[in-house]
Symmetry: C3
């Protein structure tokens, strides 16, 4: 169910971008108990003028390889699961495709389970149709 939207500077290889998606998905599987095949993710590439960031906000070191990850998910996770997710994403992306941990930015947007249709016009996580 999570819908993952990743933004980064243009210029990385397709393999690099696919590895970003794979690393976030693996972290969601591990920390948020996301089921197998529950993968929905897109990547947006941006030119220089279209991607701006603070290089030192909160004392973290960011550079042009920053990856902005916005994940929409059900509002069912405890703070400790979110903390574990952030750690797992930074760890996974550090291994492959090799993103420095300072360059891994994550934002969660939470919604109700009834706020998803996974296809066929259904509300698969919502209350039963009366």
């Amino acid at each position: 169910m999570p819908l993952t939207r990743i933004s980064l500077h243009a210029g990385k290889s397709p393999d690099y971008r696919a590895a970003l998606i794979a690393g976030v998905y693996a972290a969601l599987r591990e920390s948020f108990a996301v089921p197998e095949d529950d993968l929905f993710a897109v990547v947006h590439e941006h030119g220089e003028a279209d991607f701006a960031f603070g290089r030192h906000y909160l004392g973290i070191v960011r550079d042009a390889d920053l990856v902005l990850i916005q994940i929409t998910a059900n509002a069912t996770r405890a703070p400790d699961q979110k903390r574990a997710l952030y750690r797992a994403i930074a760890r996974n992306l550090g291994r492959d495709p090799g993103v420095r941990p300072g360059n891994v930015f994550v934002n969660l947007v939470e919604v109700a389970p009834e706020n998803w249709s996974f296809g066929d016009g259904g509300m698969q996580y919502g209350p039963p149709d009366p």
Copy 2:
């Protein structure tokens, strides 16, 4: 007021993409009582490496024609309205531009009415300016 963001694989015609926007808008008009001309929507096209999805999650059949639709709207709709919206979107997109129902993915993000400015620097849905 809904803001609609649609992602799909690159390669469809402009008419096809415009029909996606039109079909979602008509469904919002019908199921969410969205007023005429209250239309704000964008489409993002993605290459192969930048668009990933589970082909069989929840037993639904998805393929390369999957359309990911993320709609931000006021948190004022009941579950039955959301259910009706999902049905109407799948029905509309099935007719035009001809998307298989398994390829219609919808996610709602809900916000407060005061979270919109429709222009002129105003907060048109919020409490009156004291």
Copy 3:
């Protein structure tokens, strides 16, 4: 912490797009007390078929120069701060790059402070790690 996502028609100069980011950031600094260097923003350009809007919804005059601004931020601001933000964004973008106020659309998505990782795998705004 705000994550700003801006959509507009393709064709404006890089300077124009950078000015959009700068104007929103300055408004967030002024109205939402966002700290210096807390800047995370992307711009998406869209072709004709991929960008649709109501030209007169709520009596506001919009044209092809419409700018759709979606800001994800902590759910900690009062309605008056949001009102001030909308005013400041419209004012700033009117000055530079010269967007008519009717063409400035803003939507806020609010999240919990624990929903951010600013890098290094941490949950910088969340409860302390027990």
